[in-house]
Amino acid sequence: MTIRVLNRDEMAVETEHDVVTVRRKAQAVAHGRGLSTFAIAAITTAASELARNVLAHARRGTASVEAVAADGRSGVRMVFRDDGPGIADLPRALAGGYSTARSLGLGLSGSRRLVDEFEIETAPGKGTVVTVIKWARF
């Protein structure tokens, strides 16, 4: 499956305000791609969780929000990238085991359940890259 990128916005994630900016961008792109109200809420919430994760664990990073198309489907792809400490125990993080003062530890596990595709690249000391896609359904 080839994914074509129709539009791409890259944003810094360094402050609480940036989390709101990323969330609003995700919402606008999802709306523009014709996602349902439920799918828009899902991808926007995932954007919020993942951007907040960047702040909580790496303090700063970037987020890109893309309008994508593949096989006649339209969707939203988001990539969250940071150079933070990385995740040592990935299975536990994905199971919702980690929790910080600011979250319920649902950042990764929760957003994974909200999207159609979820990919994570991480290693201790190597930072973290999370890529998610939500497709429009008919």
Partner: protein, 159 residues
């Protein structure tokens, strides 16, 4: 030049696909309506008789349709009758549980009916915790319970 032609081609294909998506979308919407028939049993009481196989995709549609209807009708109780579902496995039970939780967040209650001996056995053997759900074996009992939630009752007319 080749690149330009290819670009045009992909545009043409996109336009073609977009035209078909409209038709497909209409069909899908019709199928969704048929597969999730939410019936208004009484003022503020909804019934969803589930028939056939429930896969993950359909389970999500069921939840979404039901939640929208609960808010539209300001329903206090939702009865989900699963007598027509041939197989209740962990996935189906889990989806029913999630739907119940979501309906509760809106401020309404879910009653699960049509639970056969077979389904009851499966649910217990699977270890699914359904203590948060109202359950009844028969639809009629579910309707009585739902009416009770809105302060109504079915009574016999004096002879």
């Amino acid at each position: 030049m080749t690149k330009l032609v290819l670009f045009d081609m992909s545009l043409a294909i996109d336009t073609y696909i977009a035209a078909n998506i409209d038709t497909v979308a209409r069909h899908q919407a019709a199928i969704r309506e048929l597969s999730t028939p939410v019936i208004r049993v009484h003022h503020r009481v909804l019934l969803l008789p589930l028939v056939g196989t429930v896969d993950s995709h359909r389970a999500e549609q069921i939840m979404e349709t039901l939640l929208l209807r609960v808010v539209d009708e300001q329903a206090r109780a939702v009865i989900i009758d699963i007598a027509g579902v041939p197989l209740v496995d962990t996935m189906v039970a889990d989806h029913l549980l999630k739907t119940t939780e979501a309906v509760r967040l809106l401020g309404a209650e879910t009653i699960l009916t049509g639970i056969s001996a077979q389904i009851a056995r499966t649910i217990v053997h699977l270890g699914v915790d359904i203590s948060a759900m109202h359950t009844r074996s028969r639809l009629a009992e579910g309707i009585e319970l739902a009416l009770g939630l809105i302060g109504r009752a079915i009574t016999s007319r004096p002879a």
